[in-house]
Amino acid sequence: MQITLEICVYILVMAVVTYLLRMIPMTFFRKKVTSRFIRSMLYYLPYAVLSAMVIPAVFSSTGSMITAAAGLVVALILALFNRSLITVALGASAAAYIAGLALLYLM
């Protein structure tokens, strides 16, 4: 498929909608929220978003629930010991890779 005008219009619509969602609150919302409840929600929101994104989607991230579970367990352990983002990310990948090799030999 060549890059046609049609594809460009699709991409434009995608990009504009996505950008507006990101841009509008940060650019136009200047007031500090005074409600303690709303401020508490905004404080907890990132952790809730990331948790909902990880579970259960992580279990289908490697094509095998077992290797994904191995990666997740290693990530949890490393994160409990406050390791850096990159250590935890690559640790999880390494664990999933090793689990995948182990599965090959066991089955």
Partner: protein, 256 residues
């Protein structure tokens, strides 16, 4: 002194962006492979990543392009899947200092992704513009380069490596969430409620109509509301900036 401080902030941002960029390289690599195998040109694939910088939205958008869906469908799909960025942007609007200029708001808001937001929102120090530009730079390059490499050379890597790289991005999420959840009961509550709801929506057939983008919104709003109700944060947070920001309220800022 001032420029030293600025470059220090920029470098601090770049450092925080390294793991995100590495995670993105592997994830967008997959997007590049998939876009080209579905019939898009490598140029179109990279153009999508350059202009969108989002994972779930791009995957859905790709599907709509190759199945020749309508533009309305495209807009609605992006609106629901990426509505979480609206919440993240709103959350960051509370955290950035009031002297953060409009041009920088317009530019840096483009770089709000789940991971960038996670790092920015959990940063202890104030969010300065050099820090935000530094933080966004490498993830943006990583996302676009990964797409290009996947689109051009996706078939080189063995499947076992490709599969293992798929979990890297989730490992990063875990690394952001676990340390605060260890010490903060409210945070732990938000995490556990979000996980429970997310599993219910994913596995109970009744909720099959809820798309993954919507699921994230529902889980996050409910879980953070529960945590906020039982563990409200201390009232003193961020008070220093309140008076100076008060005068700049715009029409759009009226829903608090």
């Amino acid at each position: 002194m001032i420029s030293n401080k600025k470059s220090g902030e920029f470098i601090s941002g770049v450092n925080s962006g390294i793991p995100i960029a590495l995670g993105y390289l592997s994830v967008s690599f997959g997007f590049g492979i998939s876009a080209v195998s579905r019939g898009l040109s490598p140029f179109a694939a990279v153009l999508i990543s350059l202009t969108n910088l989002t994972s779930a939205g791009q995957v859905a958008g790709l599907e709509i392009i190759v199945t020749a869906g309508t533009l309305i469908e495209m807009a609605l799909a992006q609106l629901t899947i990426n509505a979480r960025y609206f919440m993240m942007s709103l959350s960051l609007s509370q955290k950035i200092p009031s002297n953060y200029r409009v041009i920088h708001r317009l530019l840096t808001s483009f770089g709000i992704t789940d991971e960038v937001f996670g790092v920015a929102a959990s940063r202890k120090e104030p969010l300065t513009t050099p820090f935000m530009y530094g933080l966004i730079l490498l993830p943006f390059i990583g996302w676009s380069m990964g797409t290009l490499m996947g689109a051009v050379a996706g078939n080189i890597l063995p499947d076992s490596i490709k599969a293992a790289l798929g979990i890297a991005i989730y490992g990063m999420f875990v690394a952001i969430v676990v340390p605060p959840a260890k010490t903060d009961k409210g945070c732990l509550t938000a995490v556990l409620v979000a996980i429970a709801l997310s599993c219910i929506i994913a596995y109970v057939p009744l909720f099959d109509f809820i798309t993954s983008g919507f699921s994230i919104i529902i889980c996050a709003l409910c879980a953070s509301a529960v945590a906020a109700y039982f563990f409200p944060i201390k009232d003193s947070d961020g008070e220093g900036q309140e008076t100076s920001a008060e005068g700049e309220v715009t029409d759009n800022a009226d829903n608090s």
